[in-house]
Subunit: 269 residues, 2 copies
């Protein structure tokens, strides 16, 4: 099954464009979990169980697992295995390297971890992305315009009448065959998101930056979606998974996820 089909099926089943970011920082876990054998995995499983009927995808960020050292990769793999198989898993890795090396990353994420999609960095150009595009049922989400302040440093540089990030969006539209590419577009720039959606009307957009980062949810829900009100994956991490640091953390995460899912649906319809 192609990635976009899997995404649409999950999104329709749960009536949701919400993606929960599993950016689990051991220093922020509820204290009662810390005595268990594998607290990060226990936390993630509880969050997944509490939200699996509310999301269209999950997105673990590799940094949080690599910071755990040698065990981190195992916990990441176990986390992905705990996600129901009909829900797409986007591994947020932002990788980008020459073809020979990119092939190893694609293998690590798609075969090793069983991810449905990964985020990749476009700076090294097409041959750095190509190995990711050779998996027909997977999707590479290419960084286009990111939600952080530093996006202004290089992404906005004007070139031939348009900013660098628009060049990237256009190139990726050309590279995407059968839905093997998506774009990452930060929620903090709604006007630019609208323009990118015009350039890429059929690509899935992964949209981080709501919640803690303060993106405009209404604009994102309206302008990030395609003509059918689909193919936007609106990510929230900290505002959901750290909604409470008590024993009720999973329940409070569910409440936060449900509220956000509904706010998104109000705006998109």
């Amino acid at each position: 099954m192609r990635f976009t089909e899997k995404l649409l099926a999950a999104s329709e089943k749960n009536d949701s464009l919400l993606c929960v970011g599993l950016d689990t920082d051991i220093s922020r876990l509820p204290k009662h979990l810390l005595n268990s054998d594998n607290p990060v995995l226990g936390f993630n499983r509880a969050i997944i169980e509490a939200t699996a009927d509310l999301v269209c995808a999950y997105k673990p960020n590799t940094a949080f697992y690599e910071a755990m050292g040698a065990d981190g990769w195992r916990v990441l793999k176990q986390t992905i295995e705990a996600i129901p198989s009909h829900i797409p898993v986007i591994v947020d890795a932002k990788r980008g390297d020459i073809g020979n090396t990119a092939r190893m990353y694609a293998q690590a994420f798609y075969r090793g971890l069983g991810a449905d999609a990964v985020t990749v960095n476009p700076y090294m150009g097409f041959d750095a992305l190509k190995p990711f595009l050779e998996y027909p049922d997977k999707c590479a989400f290419v960084l286009c315009l990111t939600s952080n302040a530093g996006a202004k440093d290089f992404q906005y540089l004007p070139s031939k009448g348009k900013p660098v990030y628009e060049h990237i969006a256009q190139k990726v539209v050309g590279w995407s065959k059968n839905g093997c590419c998506g774009l990452v577009v930060g929620a903090t720039y709604p006007e630019q998101l609208r323009r990118i959606r015009q350039i890429a009307p059929k690509l899935p957009l992964l949209i981080p930056g709501i919640g803690v980062q303060g993106g405009d949810l209404e604009a994102v829900s309206r302008w990030g979606t395609d003509r059918q009100g689909q193919l936007a994956i609106i990510n929230s991490s900290r505002a959901i998974i750290y909604a409470s640091d008590g024993t009720d953390f999973a329940q409070k995460a569910r409440v936060a996820a449900e509220r956000l899912k509904e706010r998104i649906n109000l705006c998109r319809k």
Copy 2:
């Protein structure tokens, strides 16, 4: 000790600008190693032992270790531990993420793995690099102009009278305090390397792309170095570590490394 001091000390001790890339692909190991418990580590240790008096740095690329799954991170850590402590270790990770997440990566590489330097991707701008710059004895090598064909896709886009990669070089010069930044510049573009060295006369340059990728060694050795003929880290991976796939692999790697080190020294002096 600051990174550049450590680099200069290793470089002077071994009279070398050569960096050996430990991009160890298990499918390319000599067959006689495959029955051992930890063939990649055994291979790396033999390569390190055979070349430690010939190099100024080692550069393992994380992709090759992540492709090994959960054990990979442990093997990477063990590999770094096998490198003599006076030789700088550059972890080639090409990471780049928002500040909150970049902090986790910096922790993973500098504290967790004990790397002296990492490669980072500039696309997300300053705040994505800042957490790496907060370690005063470490160095973040920022991708500037890469050695692959895809470099042409975005790195060369003209903006305000110069290509994007020159904007990056200039910004990084401004961000570097006390030698906490370097640049990655591919050996396959000697004219551009010369220009980047003019922009960044005092930054260490990590130069991949000689060997299999065909960069011009003479130009690189002359134009990549600073005024003292130093601060260029010229990387070769496959041409050295896979010089032989027989039982003499380490010996042949030594021969290849020695030859390359001497060719570089002939050109730089």
